[in-house]
């Protein structure tokens, strides 16, 4: 009995107690971890739940194809909110040279039908993020490339500035950086002597957001630009393209652009 009263007596219950304390400790740690991580996890969940682009903010995947649908009937003549937003987001400023020497990742084109001279349209034109991009085909070093999710980009590190891609682009969507740059956005590296173009604001997409131009168009009250995953049949852009007539610019070249237009 004495043995029962020895200080070691509780050791008889040791496994159970140890298990109890172990479980308790684990639970406490888990709880502490939950308390510590939950806000972040919750915020991420909320962000994705509220994001118009559920596939954004993840690794680029070939299951996704980012694209844009532009409703030219809603695009206002004289409005350049998309251009300003692009310039602000990507830190693009007019250069010191001639206007044709400044980068323009997105531009507004005003159209007048030649037949009647009355019908007027306005639309934004930028890199069309083709599925079969001629700029990627002609680039000698492979600096022009297409990301898995369909975004056509330029690798600043291996672009030699030959401008062959600019010759090959049917949309005149690329610009050449003609002079030294200052005050760049660290997320959008640009460089003198390299070619550049619209990236669909890839830095925003990777944060779960859409392109700045689309956001600006919506904020300006036009809602002419719709961004989304063309491969997701449930996405708004895929639904709209499936149900309303849209067209591709220079469809004759069969480049399968990721940017489509309504109302042309």
């Amino acid at each position: 009995m004495s043995e029962d009263n020895t200080p070691d007596a509780p050791a008889v219950q040791d496994p159970a107690r140890r298990a109890f304390f172990g479980v308790s400790a684990s639970a406490a740690a888990a709880a502490a971890g939950f308390v510590a991580l939950a806000p972040g996890v919750r915020l991420m969940e909320l962000a994705h739940a509220q994001s118009a682009y559920p596939a954004a903010g993840k690794f680029a995947s070939s299951k996704i194809r980012w694209g844009m649908l532009i409703d030219t009937t809603k695009c206002a003549t004289g409005c350049s909110a998309c251009v300003s937003a692009c310039n602000t987001e990507n830190a693009i400023e007019p250069g010191s040279g001639r206007p044709a020497q400044s980068s323009q990742w997105i531009r507004k084109i005003e159209l007048t039908e030649q037949a009647d001279g009355h019908r007027e349209l306005s639309l934004p034109m930028m890199c069309q993020h083709c599925a079969n991009p001629p700029c990627v085909d002609v680039c000698p070093t492979g600096a022009s490339f297409k990301r898995a999710d369909g975004i056509v980009l330029v690798d600043r590190h291996i672009c030699i500035g030959c401008r062959y891609c600019m010759m090959a682009c049917p949309y005149q969507a690329r610009s050449f950086v003609d002079e030294p740059l200052h005050d760049q956005n660290p997320e959008v590296p640009r460089g003198q002597g390299c070619v550049e173009a619209c990236t669909l604001c890839v830095q925003r997409i990777d944060r779960g957001l859409g392109p700045a131009c689309v956001e600006a168009c919506t904020q300006a009250g036009h809602g002419a630009m719709l961004f989304g995953d063309l491969n997701d049949p449930k996405s708004e852009i895929a639904t709209r393209i499936a149900t309303t007539a849209s067209s591709q610019v220079r469809a004759d070249l069969r480049l399968d652009p990721g940017v489509r237009y309504q109302g042309i």
Binding site: V83, G95, S96, G97, R98, P99, A100, Q101, S102, S103, Q104, R107, K108, I109, E110, L111, T112, E113, Q114, A115, L121, M125, P134, V136, D137, V138, C139, P140, T141, G142, I158, C159, I160, G161, C162, R163, Y164, M166, M167, A168, C169, P170, Y171, Q172, R174, S175, F176, V177, D178, E179, P180, G191, Q192, G193, C194, V195, V249, R250, L253, I264
Partner: protein
């Protein structure tokens, strides 16, 4: 047989030789200065922009590269087609080909936005790019023609020269096809997008290369007081006339095929009718000075003592016409706007729908002339240091049978 007793000799250590090299040196230094200035300030100081992305440097570079291939004509005629009269002239032909290619590529490389990344261009390839193919074609051309030259000049290797000559002949045809395809594959631009461009560029190369060869040969002989016989000039005259006529024919085919397609009437009207400087350069420069005038000079009957001057004048006219042709092809083709929305008048801050103007800057002119000077300097420095040219180039030396016949 004629070539067996021919003695080859360096051009003499004369003041004229060094004066020419010094002049070339000045242009090379000016070209290097232009390049450094462009690299420091950026292309903003040039006439090029986002609409005319390839400017005067490309006119010079492509002209020199195309001419390089054609400069090999004389060597090919000797080795591949077995015309022994050309054999003594073959080393100069190969040397000129290498020098022109070096000059052209130098201009092309120094006009890059990032010329410091040339090692990237040499080590990182996209094999679908016509440009990347051309990198291989250029390096292959240097290798094959270099080996061919060595085998022609090294007596022990003479027996193999014929085989290398054949390889060089095929390679240079492929090279010019590649250069023409740089433009021919640009389906987006109405001025290009034609399969006819590749054979047209081959014809241009034959014509420009032969013309430059004649001028360099005459220049080298004049600078060193070497006799140059009429027989070889007369033969090259007929060759040049054939190439000029072939070029003109293919240019006509190119424009007629474009005119067949209604969608191309705009660009054709621009180049042929109301393109301002481009129309002028096409009709007066490319067709008038570069084709019709040389054909008249080369084919019209002339007194024997006038033939040489006529051939050299025709050669100079072909070179001038060649520059005009490159200007019209490269700059004119870009000046015409892309047609994104058929049936609409368009306007934008990026000059959509507008014919674009281009005025080359002094830096581009200096860079281009620097490339030409580099090519000339390589040729004359090599002629001064090595035995590329026969001591005598008169009819009796080159073609004894001709001398006897006379």
């Amino acid at each position: 047989m004629a070539a067996t007793n021919i003695v080859y000799r360096e051009i003499a250590n004369k003041r004229a030789t060094w004066a020419l090299l010094a002049l070339c040196g000045l242009f090379i230094v000016a070209g290097a200065g232009a390049h450094l200035t462009m690299e420091h300030y950026g292309h903003v100081i040039t006439g090029m922009d986002n609409r005319i992305v390839w400017g005067l440097p490309h006119v010079f570079a492509v002209f020199l590269i195309v001419a390089a291939s054609g400069a090999l004509n004389v060597a090919s005629t000797a080795s591949v087609f077995g015309k022994s009269i050309y054999k003594p002239l073959a080393p100069l032909s190969a040397l000129l080909a290498l020098a022109l290619l070096a000059g052209g590529l130098t201009v092309l490389m120094l006009d890059l936005g990032r010329p410091d990344r040339i090692i990237v261009a040499a080590t990182t390839y996209n094999f679908k790019s016509v440009f990347a193919w051309n990198v291989f074609l250029y390096t292959g051309f240097f290798t094959i023609v270099g080996a061919y030259l060595w085998m022609m000049m090294e007596r022990r290797m003479n027996a193999y020269a014929k085989h290398l000559g054949a390889a060089a002949f095929i390679w240079r045809l492929v090279l010019t096809t590649g250069t023409g395809s740089i433009f021919g594959f640009l389906v987006a631009r109405q001025a290009y997008q034609s399969a006819v461009l590749a054979p047209t560029f081959i014809a241009f190369s034959l014509s420009y290369g032969t013309a430059i060869y004649l001028l360099v040969l005459a220049g080298a002989c004049a600078i060193d007081d070497r006799p140059l016989g009429d027989a070889i000039v007369r033969r090259l005259k007929n060759l040049l006339a054939t190439f000029v006529a072939a070029s003109l024919y293919l240019v006509a085919v190119l424009h007629l095929t474009n005119l067949y397609f209604t969608r191309n009437h705009g660009i054709e009207n621009f180049i042929l009718m109301d393109g301002g400087i481009f129309t002028g350069l096409f009709w007066i420069g490319q067709v008038g000075i570069g084709s019709v005038l040389p054909l008249v000079l080369l084919l019209a009957p002339a007194k024997a003592n006038l033939v040489r001057n006529r051939v050299l004048t025709a050669s100079a006219a072909v070179v001038i016409g060649g520059f005009c042709q490159m200007y019209v092809t490269i700059i004119g083709g870009q000046a015409w706007p892309l047609n994104l929305f058929p049936g609409y008048k368009v306007s934008s801050s990026f000059f959509d729908g507008e014919v674009h103007n281009y005025a080359p800057s002094i830096w581009e002119i200096m860079l281009g002339l620097g490339g030409v000077a580099l090519a000339i300097a390589i040729v004359f420095l090599a002629l001064r240091l090595l035995r590329f040219l026969p001591e005598r180039l008169d009819d009796a030396t080159l073609d004894p049978s001709h001398a006897h016949a006379d």
